[in-house]
C-alpha cells in the first residue's frame, strides 16, 4: 500500500518542545498527583512535582535525540542508549520508582530506534546488492535444510546435556523449565496463529483445561501423570472443538475477540464453580509425576515401594525430581516442534498456509475452510492442554489466577515477536520475553511495563516479527521474483 503522510518538516527543537508540552499534560494529574489512602479509605493527594519534571525533561531529550537515532548517528545513539539502560539497571536503587521507569523506557526507545535504523540500512544495502531475479535452486534449499537439521541436533544435544552441567543448579533448571513450558505453549499456538493465520486471544483457556483436567483426574480418580497427559490433551482438544465448531466461520477480528471471551468464560467458571474447581483457592495437593509409574521421588517411600534414588542406588537429592521434570517438558517441546514441523509438510499444513495467505482463493479451489481450521484449533489446543497438565504437576496446585488474559497475551507476544510461523523465532522470543526479565531481578516490578513497551517497539520496528517465518513453504521462485519486482515498483511510486 502506498504510504500517505503529510511531510512534517523535521525541526527537532520544535518537535521536542511540543512533545514535552504533551508529556506535561499526560503526566500532570496522573503522575503529579498521587492519590493515597489509609485504612479508612479517605483519599488525599501526594503532590509529586519532581516526577512530572523528570518525565517532561526526559521526553524533551528523547524527542531531541530521536532524529539522530533514526539518521546518521543511529549506531552511536543506539549503543549509548543501551549502555545507559544497563547503567540505570545497575544503579537502580539510587533512583525513585518513577525516575527509574522513565529512564528505563526512554533508554529502550532510543536503543530500539537506533538499532532498528541500522538494521533497516543494512537491509536496504543488501537488496541493492543482490539481483532481484536470483532463482532459488533446489540445491540451495537442500543445503539450507541440512544445515538447519545439524543446528537442531546440536541444540537438542545441548538441551539434553544441560542438567548435567556444573553450573546448572536449582535456579537455572527452574528457569529452563519455565522457558520450555512457554516454548510448548508458543509452538502450540504457532499452529493456529502462525500457520493458519487465526488470531487466538484465548489460548490460556486450553492451558487451564489441561491443568484442571490433570488435577481433577489425579486427585479424584488417582490417574497417573502418564495416562492423564494424553487425556488432558484430548480434553483440551475437545474444548477447542466445542469453541471452534461454532466460531470458525467468523472473520479475523471477530474471531479474536470471541476467543478472548471464551478464555474469560473458562476463567470465570473456574473461579465460581467451587464444588468442581475449588473456586479462587484452586486445587491443592496435585500429585507429582512418578518415574514412569515405577518409582517416586520421595525421600522415604511408603511401604512396599521403591523410590527413584533407591532404584538407581543414588544418594537422595531433591534435584532428581527437578531434572526429571526438565526432561518431561523437554520431551513435550520436542514433540510440539516435531508435530508442527511434520504437519507443515503435509497437505493439511499446506492448506493452513494457503488459508492464511488467501481465504477466498482457498474456498475457490475447494478447500473446506471450517474443517481445516478446526484441525488447527484442536491440535494447538491439545498442546496447550499438555502444557497445562505439566504446569499442574510441576506447581503441585492450580488456581484460576494462573490463567488470566495476560498469559494469553504473553504467549501470543512470543509467537508474533518470533515471526509467526518460525519455530526458531518463537524460541528466541521465549528467551527474550521469559528469560530476560528473570535475569534482571531488579526490574521485576517494572517487568510488565517494559513488556508492554517492548511489544509496541518491536511491532513498530519489525511488524513481521524478529524472524519472519511467514514465507509459505511452497512457492514458485519465479512467482516470488515477479512479485518482488512488482512490489519494488509500487514502493518507488510516491
Amino acid at each position: 500500500m502506498t504510504e500517505i503522510r503529510n511531510q512534517q518538516g523535521g525541526l527537532p527543537w520544535r518537535d521536542a518542545f511540543f512533545g514535552s508540552i504533551r508529556a506535561f499534560i499526560l503526566s500532570v494529574a496522573i503522575v503529579g498527583m498521587r492519590t493515597t489512602s489509609d485504612e479508612t479509605g479517605v483519599l488525599w493527594i501526594d503532590y509529586k512535582p519532581w516526577d512530572v519534571v523528570t518525565i517532561v525533561a526526559t521526553v524533551f531529550v528523547v524527542r531531541l535525540l530521536l532524529p539522530s537515532a533514526r539518521g546518521a548517528h543511529s549506531l552511536l545513539v543506539g549503543l549509548a542508549a543501551l549502555v545507559s539502560v544497563f547503567a540505570i539497571i545497575g544503579y537502580a536503587r539510587h533512583f525513585g520508582e518513577i525516575q527509574f521507569a522513565t529512564f528505563l523506557v526512554a533508554g529502550l526507545v532510543l536503543s530500539v530506534a537506533g538499532f532498528a535504523s541500522v538494521a533497516a540500512a543494512n537491509e536496504r544495502m543488501r537488496t541493492l546488492l543482490t539481483p532481484a531475479s536470483q532463482p532459488v535452486t533446489a540445491g540451495a534449499l537442500a543445503r539450507r535444510a541440512s544445515r538447519n537439521r545439524g543446528l537442531v541436533l546440536l541444540g537438542l544435544a545441548a538441551a539434553v546435556l544441560f542438567p548435567f552441567l556444573p553450573f546448572a543448579d536449582r535456579y537455572w533448571l527452574d528457569l529452563a523449565i519455565l522457558i520450555l513450558t512457554y516454548l510448548v505453549l508458543g509452538w502450540g499456538l504457532n499452529i493456529v496463529v502462525g500457520l493458519a493465520g487465526l488470531l487466538d486471544l484465548g489460548f490460556v483457556a486450553f492451558y487451564a483445561v489441561g491443568a484442571y483436567a490433570y488435577a481433577l483426574l489425579a486427585i479424584h480418580l488417582d490417574v497417573s501423570f502418564w495416562l492423564a497427559l494424553p487425556l488432558a490433551a484430548l480434553l483440551a482438544a475437545f474444548a477447542g472443538f466445542l469453541l471452534g465448531f461454532p466460531v470458525l466461520r467468523l472473520r479475523g477480528d471477530y474471531f479474536a475477540i470471541v476467543t478472548l471471551g471464551f478464555g474469560e468464560i473458562i476463567r470465570i467458571v473456574l473461579l465460581n464453580w467451587s464444588e468442581m474447581s475449588g473456586g479462587p483457592d484452586g486445587l491443592t495437593g496435585v500429585p507429582r509425576p512418578s518415574f514412569f509409574g515405577i518409582a517416586g521421588f520421595e525421600r522415604n517411600p511408603s511401604e512396599g515401594e521403591t523410590a527413584f534414588h533407591q532404584l538407581f542406588g543414588l544418594e537422595f537429592s531433591t534435584m532428581h525430581r527437578i531434572v526429571f521434570l526438565y526432561f518431561i517438558v523437554l520431551a513435550l517441546a520436542v514433540l510440539a516442534s516435531y508435530v508442527a514441523k511434520t504437519l507443515r509438510r503435509m497437505p493439511i499444513g499446506r492448506a493452513w498456509e494457503a488459508l492464511r495467505e488467501d481465504e477466498i482463493a482457498c474456498q475457490a479451489v475447494g478447500i473446506s475452510r471450517a474443517s481445516i481450521k478446526l484441525w488447527a484449533f484442536m491440535i494447538s489446543a491439545a498442546f496447550g492442554g499438555m502444557a497445562g497438565a505439566f504446569f499442574a504437576t510441576r506447581q503441585g496446585y492450580v488456581s484460576p489466577e494462573s490463567f488470566t488474559f495476560i498469559e494469553s497475551a504473553i504467549v501470543l507476544a512470543i509467537v508474533v515477536l518470533g515471526g509467526m510461523g518460525s519455530q526458531l523465532g518463537v524460541f528466541l522470543a521465549t528467551l527474550l520475553i521469559i528469560g530476560l526479565p528473570e535475569a534482571f531481578r531488579e526490574v521485576e516490578q517494572y517487568r510488565m511495563l517494559v513488556f508492554g513497551a517492548a511489544m509496541v517497539l518491536v511491532m513498530i520496528w519489525k511488524p513481521g516479527g524478529l524472524l519472519a517465518g511467514r514465507e509459505p513453504s511452497v512457492r514458485y521462485a519465479q512467482v516470488k521474483n515477479r512479485m518482488r519486482k512488482k512490489l519494488s515498483v509500487l514502493e518507488e511510486t510516491p
Partner: protein, 305 residues
Amino acid sequence: MEYFAQQVLNGLTIGSVYGLIAVGYTMVYGIVGMINFAHGEIYMIGAFVGVIVLTVLGSLGITFVPLLIAVALIASIVITSVYGYTLEKVAYRPLRGSTRLAALISAIGMSIFLQNFVLLVQGARVKSVPQLITERHVLYDGGPGAMVTVTNSQLLIMGVAAVVMLAFGFLVAKTPLGRSQRACAQDKVMAAYLGVQVDRTIATTFVLGAALAAVAGVLVSLYYGVVDFFVGFVAGIKAFTAAVLGGIGSIKGAFLGGIILGLVEALWSSYLSFAYKDVAAFSLLILILLVRPTGLIGRPETEKV
C-alpha cells in the same frame, strides 16, 4: 414487577456507559479497521483523572457539586484526549499499512503498558471517592421492597449519554469532519488524493473516542465511587462486545449494543447469577456473532479478492 422495572433502570444506566465507550471502538474500527485494544485503558485513565480532580477540589474546600462535576469532566476530557492522540501517534500511526495483526499486538502492548504505568504511579489500591450525588426520586411506591427509584446520578449518566450520542450522530452525518471520516473509512488513498487530511482525521477520531471514554469514566466513578488500575480491561471488552453487538462501524449500533448489553447484564445478575454476569456478556457476544455476524444494524461486509 417493581423489581424488574428497577433492574431495567439500572441496566439502562450501565448500558449508557458501555455505549459511550463503545463509540470509541466503533469509530476507530470503522475508519482504520483495527481493534483499539487500549481504549479500555483510556477509559480507566479518564476515571482516574476524574477521581484525582475531585479529590484536589475537595481538599481546596469546594463543595458546589455542579462545579465539581464540570471541572472533573473538563479536566478529564482534556487530559484523556491527549492520551488518545499520543496513543495513535506513538503506537498505531507507524503501523498503518502494516498487517492487522501487527496493529492489534501493538495495541495490546500499549494496553499492558498503560495499565502498569497507572499501577506504578497511582498504586494498586482501590480508590474510592465519597458519593457526591445521593438524591434519589421515588418513581413508584408499592410498599416496602417494591419501590422503583432513580438516583440523580443515574439520570445524569443517561442524560449526558443521550446528549453526547445525538451530538455525535450530527457530527458524523453533517459536518466536514464527519465527511472526512466517512471518506477515510471507505478509501484512504482516494480520500488523500481528494484533499482529505487522512492523518489528521484519524487523529481526531482517536481524540473524540478518548473524550467520550473520559466522560464515561468520570460518570462511572461518580456512580460507583470506586476506581482502580484494572477497571479498563473488563469495561473495554464489554464495550467492544457492545460495539460488535450493534454492528461495528455504526455509532447508533454502538449505543444500541451498549443498552442491550447493560440490560442483559442487569437482568441476568439479578435473576440468575451475579457471579456469572460476565459470562452472560460474552455468551451474548458469541450468540450474536453466530446468528448475525454483522451485528444488529451493521452493513453486511462483502469479501473482496
